[in-house]
Amino acid sequence: MHPTSHAFPENARRALNDETLQYMLAKSRTGFQLRRAAAAQRLPEFEELRDQGKAIKDHALANLDVYLELFEAKVTEQGGHVHWCRTAEEARETILDICRNAGARTVTKGKSMIAEEIAINDHLEAAGFIPIETDLGEYIIQLRKEPPSHIIAPAFHVSKEQVADAFRAAHTDLPPERSLEEPRELITEARLMLRRRFQEADVGITGANLLIAETGSTIIVTNEGNGDLTQTLPKVHVVLASIEKVVPTLEDAATVLRLLARSATGQEFSSYTTFSTGPRRPGDLDGPEQFHVVLLDNGRSALLGTEFQEVLRCIRCGACMNHCPVYGAVGGHAYGWVYPGPIGAVLDPALIGLKEAGHLPNASTFCGRCEAVCPMRIPLPKMMRHWREKEFAEKLQPATMRRGIGAWGWLARRPALYHAAVRMAVRTLRRVGTLPLPMLQGWTEHRDLPAPEGRSFQELWAERRGGSKR
């Protein structure tokens, strides 16, 4: 996916004027929030489970090299293969090689954000393979040739009428007069079309929600069952996973899984949680003959030991974006890359660079709801602040903004001068009322600058403190 994060302001403006998008955003947001709240409330241990989930991931990250080695040994012992890839390019090459060696034509895919990260579909197509997304949401956006707008509900910006249009354009061998008004009809059609694809697939690619060092298993969590057909029917199963997904034991996985669905969709548990270990065993009647795990770093190990290490605890539930007022206003596409919302505002600058994604950590009101609902208690606002500091340190903002911040910083370090300036500004503003300040137009275009009450906070504070002394 080619990033457009540098154009966030224009992207956001376009999103705010997109009526369908605004309708879909309004429709889904409250549902996600209510369901998560109800699920969390129903489990009395939920808050304590969050603490434990955090501790498990912290432990796994602090020993990441060791657990990855153990995971690899187990996969190999069970007859699987682990491929270590530093970059997106290495991962793509590895996957293309596996597909070529399998003599593949059709490649089915379960939902995977890392697959988006390395843009595997484009490269599969360029190499002559036919990649087919099988998650219904991913299938819809693949037909519409657009990226996902949410990490767990990739097509939630699309209305059912738009889905019907996409199906009519793609499924040309079905009777044109068929009805596609109801979601039920759309799902039945997608099921029928994708069944054909499942049967003809030579390679199935899935992501992984977790990797287990104890058993060498990879886990996927889905509601549709598409990930299971993707990995059970073809002769080759490729798991695409990033290195931070590993946890030590099945018990640790159970704790994380208790948090995942509740935080994501508000379900007690998703319909299908599948543990895959190696290829099919002798005598098995189905299952893949080959099992490959493509382990991708792509900039993650560089976050260890930094102020951003904690973001690697993320389990991709999407709760942060479901509760974010900025995401709720502009949707996912405005962020311009794979991971939108608060997690994207922290992760995207790390993965595609601050120069490209510098707007994202600034697109926050710091209301703190993302951190409040994050099952892994990732301090997302604090990390956005770190990015803002880096942006200033690396001189990435426009000169006028830098000069403004610099001037304020200079003034703020000189209390006497600062108070004098504030007193003067407050009095002037009170006398003049709301006035068109050319410098502040970006702000005053959409809201009034309130006229100050009269005296500055420092003056009132000094008076109150003086008063209590007396």
Partner: protein
């Protein structure tokens, strides 16, 4: 590729400021060998009878259906009635699982049975299960020569025969039972362990939940009380 491996591992070690020495490896192995439980919700830590009640309640909540029968002898009637009640064909694709052998299918001669992995045209499958997990009404199914995974996903209707004795409280309880049998799986997990909680569903079209996205539209559990 081995160069990538060593570079990634070395990069992690450097970033963490320590090397993967034997002491750290031993500590990780010990943690795995101990596989201690973390916090387990109180909800499912109840006696066996209450676990069965909770399992049924939670399974119904996620749109599975449950028929309770006194013994395996009663399974053919229960299955035939279920199929007739849903206007489904009286044809079953069975897992070639010896655990299902005691079911006296001859009691319902109108049922057509075949055994093996699922084929595209199979409308209804019937399998056993390894465990039922009360906590969330979840079934644990494991793959093997006698338990093809395709039966759990391809047919439109999946019928699972589960005995009350197979119901446990939590995921951890189910893993412990599976570990106890690990010799049968050559020391490792079976190729596929499916935790199944209700039928297939999707909310991908305007956030309206619809059943039967890719997997079964119906999940019917025949709970054998004996």
């Amino acid at each position: 590729m081995s160069q990538s491996r060593s570079q990634i591992l070395a990069g992690i070690a450097t970033a963490l400021g320590r090397t993967p020495d034997d002491a750290r490896r031993a500590a990780a192995r010990a943690r795995i060998a101990g596989h201690a439980r973390n916090l387990v919700p109180a909800r499912a830590q109840v006696d066996a009878e209450a676990q069965v009640r909770l399992f049924v309640q939670m399974a119904l909540e996620v749109s599975a259906t449950v028929a309770r029968v006194p013994s395996l002898d009663a399974v053919p009637d229960a299955v035939a009635e279920y199929l007739a009640g849903h206007n489904l064909p009286a044809e079953l694709r069975l897992a070639p699982d010896p655990a299902l052998d005691p079911i006296p299918w001859q009691r319902r001669p109108t049922l057509t049975l075949s055994r093996g992995r699922a084929r595209d045209a199979d409308a209804v499958s019937l399998t056993g299960a390894f465990a039922g997990i009360a906590e969330t009404g979840t079934l644990m199914l494991v793959s093997g020569a006698e338990r093809p995974t395709t039966l759990n996903f391809l047919p439109d209707t999946h019928i699972v025969v589960l005995t009350a004795a197979q119901i446990v409280g939590t995921y951890e309880d189910a893993w412990d039972r599976l570990r106890a049998q690990s010799a049968a799986f050559e020391g490792g997990l079976p190729r596929t362990v499916n935790l199944i909680t209700g039928p297939s569903r999707t909310g991908d079209i305007e956030q309206t939940i619809q059943l039967g996205a890719h997997g079964p539209r119906r999940l019917h559990i025949v709970l054998v009380e004996e």
